[in-house]
């Protein structure tokens, strides 16, 4: 009998990174940059200008609030959509079985898949932020910009894991894209991206702690304030926890689904 030992962790991680990057290129339907720019950059720029315009007319917050919120929302959309498509598109293109027969660790394979989508979220967000800064004539200092990107990467990771958890649901349920759109809209309100957190009902404020980007948004809003360092540590830690919870939910539900598929054929 021939036995094959599991590859070293390092080899697994590198290999999973390579496959996740290749799958990202193959599955994410934004191969033409023009379409990506129209849907993932131009649209959020226009929306943040609209919300800033609405906010200024209703006397709510300032342009910086809507600029940062709009840029964070721009990061959420490709991260969540990518997370969903990382699984549902595999099935759509008939390559999902290849994952199931792979002897790679599911944990590495799935966790790594979130990374390219998170980077895509960052790219969309930075481009949106640049466009928004020009349109709204609001400038962020380089220090705040770097902090924003670093914090946002955590938010993008939790969004991608959240999207992948939805993607697992999409393997057994129809209309997952409807659910995805509802989730993104819920995050825009619940994570206080386009409305101030203080006006949300108490139950929304409490339940929104499980939403991706919620804590990052809170940390970003604190940028430049006196107790920013404390807020950044607390909120970054909370966002990492949220990302970990969604990753666990995704892995557990995928594992359960896989065993059911193998059991029931």
């Amino acid at each position: 009998m021939v036995t094959r030992s599991q590859p070293h962790i390092y080899t697994q991680v590198i290999s999973c990174w390579n496959t996740s990057f290749l799958s990202f290129r193959a599955l994410f339907n934004w191969l033409a940059p023009r379409h990506f720019v129209l849907a993932m950059v131009a649209t959020p720029i226009m929306e943040l200008i609209f919300f800033a315009f609405l906010g200024s007319n209703l006397g709510v917050e300032d342009a910086r609030f809507f600029l940062l919120g709009g840029a964070m929302l721009a990061a959420c959309t490709p991260s969540i959509a990518g997370g969903v498509m990382a699984l549902t598109s595999e099935r759509h293109f008939g390559t999902f079985e290849h994952i199931l027969v792979s002897r790679r660790s599911r944990s590495y394979l799935l966790l790594m898949r979130a990374v390219p989508y998170s980077f895509m979220g960052i790219v969309a967000s930075v481009l949106t932020l640049a466009g928004g800064m020009i349109a709204l004539r609001v400038l962020l200092s380089p220090r705040h910009l770097i902090m924003f990107i670093a914090l946002l990467f955590l938010g993008c990771l939790s969004s991608a894991f959240f999207g992948m958890a939805l993607g697992v649901l999409g393997l057994v349920a129809s209309n997952v894209f409807l659910l995805m759109n509802v989730a993104i809209s819920t995050i825009s309100i619940g994570a206080a991206l386009v409305v101030p957190l203080s006006v949300l009902p108490k139950w929304v404020q409490v339940t929104s702690h499980v939403l991706p980007v919620r804590h990052v948004a809170q940390a970003v809003r604190e940028m430049g304030s006196q107790d920013f360092k404390g807020a950044i540590l607390w909120n970054a830690g909370s966002e990492v926890l949220v990302a970990a919870v969604w990753a666990l939910v995704m892995l557990a539900s995928f594992s359960r689904l896989e065993s059911r598929m193998r059991r029931e054929g």
Partner: protein, 262 residues
Amino acid sequence: MNMSAALSGAVSFLTATRFHIRDLSRETSDVALNLITPIFYACIAYFLHVAGGRQQNLADLMIGAGLMGMWSSIMFGAGTVIKAQRYQGTLEFLLGSPKRFSSIIIPITTAASVFGAASMLLTLLWGVVVFDVRVDLAHVPGMTLAALVTTLAMGCFGLLIAALFVQARRAESMASPMIAPLWMLSGILVPVSGLIEPLRPVSRVLPMSWGAEAVRAAATGSPYWFGLASCAATGVVYLLVGSWAINVVARRSRDKGEVNLW
């Protein structure tokens, strides 16, 4: 045109519109998204209204949020009309039909507009039930009339959008960034007077800005006939321009053998 021909045309239009409403309703997730999205707009408008010290009329904001949904329905529904027919494999039959191409497309864009009207109604109901918006029942007939005229005018506007997006393979990507500027220009949540001076005349050529004014005025019992008439008039202009544009595009494509590029 005699009376019976006009009546026959109207019956044909209504039958085709009903058919396309049923056709569009088959995709339940699209219908649900059309109806649910404006509710989120309404929630955002409400929370911003609260944060801003409740200075604006909440009913106006709910109507505006519903009209945001109508814009989305029109831009995606009319923008992707050619793509949808191509996807269903019915585009060639429609192009080969002896009727004018515009008279085939207008019921589809009107059907998309009807979904927008439904989302406006649902958003207003959401506002009444959840946010305690007060609507005087005596003003409901006026609001219904204004909403009906706006729906028809936006259906006509959709014809022009369909003509503009004829050869766009990714019409959704093109329509998507245009929606928020149209929300601003048509003054549906913030009055046109809030726009910078050079942009104000642009809003006057959009049927939605007149329609929004008419619906808002009807909701408060103010005179709305001027807004309603202007909405209808701009709708007629878009019907003529849109029909001409889409017929020209269809004829040129047939002549040059470019229908396969649609």
